[in-house]
């Protein structure tokens, strides 16, 4: 049985090494239902690995991961994944498929399969939701700009109305205006869907626009976590160096 007090995502002592490189050294993190958690940290600190561990794309060496109170290895894998939507850093759109089939990918096959016409209508509606016109639907991903590809990726992430949405570096490679548009879209969509969101980024404007809670990952552990409103006044020197982008501090500039 789960209730509203059960965190949607809970990581306990999650560790992961690749050969001699210890990326995660015991990550403890909880994400309450319906909230937006942003994980910050420098490049190579294990933010993406943390997300991939939750999705089962990377198997942790140790620790437990619970989703809505259940161990992620319990139950049907497809049903587990059907609860998630994910926006990948580079979009990860399928080059060989037109935009609408990318967006409706999940609706065209598997347990959530719908008639082709209905799937296309849903895809166009989701494209509209992220600010793209229906004429984009029949284009191929390579014909779109970086910002449009991110929007298509966002439309795909929300196409099946998931309970949990992951955003991997959603504004990387975008100009500041487009980054602002994507941040606003993420905030709006997460709020209106009531979804639980987990975002990884090192863009502080994204953090302030998207986050309810912030966690800072450094050296394979969570150094600080708390509400975004307390981030600026927190005493943690690692957090303060990171959010102010200072070269001087406990985080070595060369990692």
């Amino acid at each position: 049985m789960t209730n509203d007090a059960t965190p949607m995502i809970a990581l306990e002592g999650v560790s992961k090494s690749f050969g001699q490189k210890h990326v995660l050294r015991g990550v403890d993190l909880t994400v309450p239902k319906g909230t937006s958690m942003v994980i910050i940290g420098g490049s190579g600190t294990g933010k993406s690995v943390t997300l991939k561990c939750v999705l089962g794309l990377v198997e942790p060496d140790a620790g437990t991961i619970r989703v809505d109170g259940r161990d992620m290895h319990e139950g049907d894998r497809d049903a587990f994944l059907a609860r998630f939507g994910m926006l990948f850093q580079g979009g990860a759109l399928f080059d060989s498929l037109p935009v609408w089939q990318n967006v409706a990918f999940r609706l065209l096959r598997g347990a959530l399969k719908r008639p082709r016409r209905e799937a296309r209508e849903i895809a166009i509606e989701k494209l509209r939701r992220v600010g793209l016109t229906p004429d984009v639907a029949d284009a191929f991903p390579a014909e779109l700009s970086g910002g449009m590809q991110k929007r298509v990726g966002l439309a795909r992430a929300i196409a099946a109305d998931p309970e949990i949405i992951f955003f991997d570096e959603p504004t990387t490679g975008l100009d500041p205006i487009m980054a602002g548009v994507i941040n606003d879209l993420i905030r709006e969509i997460v709020t209106e869907m009531g979804a639980t969101a987990m975002t990884i980024t090192h863009d502080m404007s994204s953090v302030r626009a998207i986050a309810d809670h912030v966690a800072m990952l450094h050296d394979g552990v969570i150094k600080w976590t708390g509400p975004v409103s307390e981030m600026d006044s927190a005493a943690d020197p690692f957090l303060q160096q990171f959010i102010h982008g200072r070269a001087e501090g406990p985080i070595a500039a060369v990692r």
Partner: protein
């Protein structure tokens, strides 16, 4: 350096090679099992049939045509040394159907299809499209590998059959247009000489080579390294492995059919 060091080096190389064979065998077994287990991706299978079969027809046809023609010239000039020019139809037929048809089609498929499959899947891997498939509740082995393997197994024997016919036609054309053979007699000699086992061996080889070509493309693509260099290595490795395995499988299968 100790005297046993070279032995250790050889031993480690052999173990690495055996581990590689084991990984490929497990991959092949998993891929084959997904052909028979739902869900089935019919559109992906049709697309793979089109890419591997239909779109390979021009290159397969040209290869077989020129090889058949050249074979007729070689046999005519070689046979003339002991007054055996008349065997051109028979030797072209047996050479194309038993050996050159399947091997050349297999190698052309390795060059054209294996490389393309490896590059496509490797690019999907480095751009996180494979991860995206998994998050969309889609098994990449089922969606990417099984349709290509099935298409390779089904369509390459057909290509080999077409290649055999075109190769024989190439020999017929050269023999009748420049070597003085009677067109009808050439065809009669060809058909009289060929046995069902010749055709069966050709098609079985095509099936095996199609499976090898598709499997090597998928295996190297799915196990590609990072970045452009990773994609390049996966593509190169897939073609090398497919070509060597096709030639080795041809030797083994020829031995098997020879003993029947």
């Amino acid at each position: 350096m100790s005297l046993t060091a070279p032995l250790g080096l050889i031993g480690r190389s052999v173990l690495r090679a055996l581990a590689g064979v084991g990984r490929v065998a497990i991959f092949a077994a998993r891929a084959a099992s997904h052909i028979f287990r739902a869900p089935f991706y019919g559109r992906e299978v049709l697309n793979a049939l089109l890419q591997i079969g239909w779109l390979s027809l021009p290159v397969v046809g040209m290869t077989a045509l020129f090889t058949g023609g050249a074979l007729a010239l070689q046999i005519y000039s070689g046979g003339a040394r002991f007054s055996a020019e008349a065997v051109v139809p028979q030797i072209v037929a047996i050479g194309m159907v038993r050996e050159l048809g399947p091997v050349l089609v297999g190698l052309m498929i390795a060059a054209r299809v294996t490389s393309s499959i490896a590059a496509e899947i490797a690019t999907m891997k480095v751009t996180e499209q494979i991860d995206a498939l998994v998050t969309l509740s889609t098994n990449p082995m089922k969606y990417l590998v099984a349709p290509r393997l099935l298409a390779g197994l089904v369509v390459v024997p057909l290509l080999v059959g077409v290649g055999d016919v075109i190769g024989i036609f190439g020999g017929w054309f050269v023999a009748t247009s420049s070597l003085g053979f009677n067109p009808a007699a050439y065809l009669k000699n060809t058909l009289d000489f060929l046995e069902p086992l010749d055709v069966i061996s050709s098609l079985v080889k095509g099936c095996a080579f199609g499976g090898i070509a598709a499997l090597m493309g998928c295996y190297h693509g799915m196990h590609s390294g990072r970045g452009a260099q990773g994609v390049g290595r996966a593509t190169k490795g897939s073609v090398e492995a497919a070509a060597v395995l096709i030639l080795a499988a041809n030797f083994l299968l020829t031995g098997v059919f020879f003993s029947i």
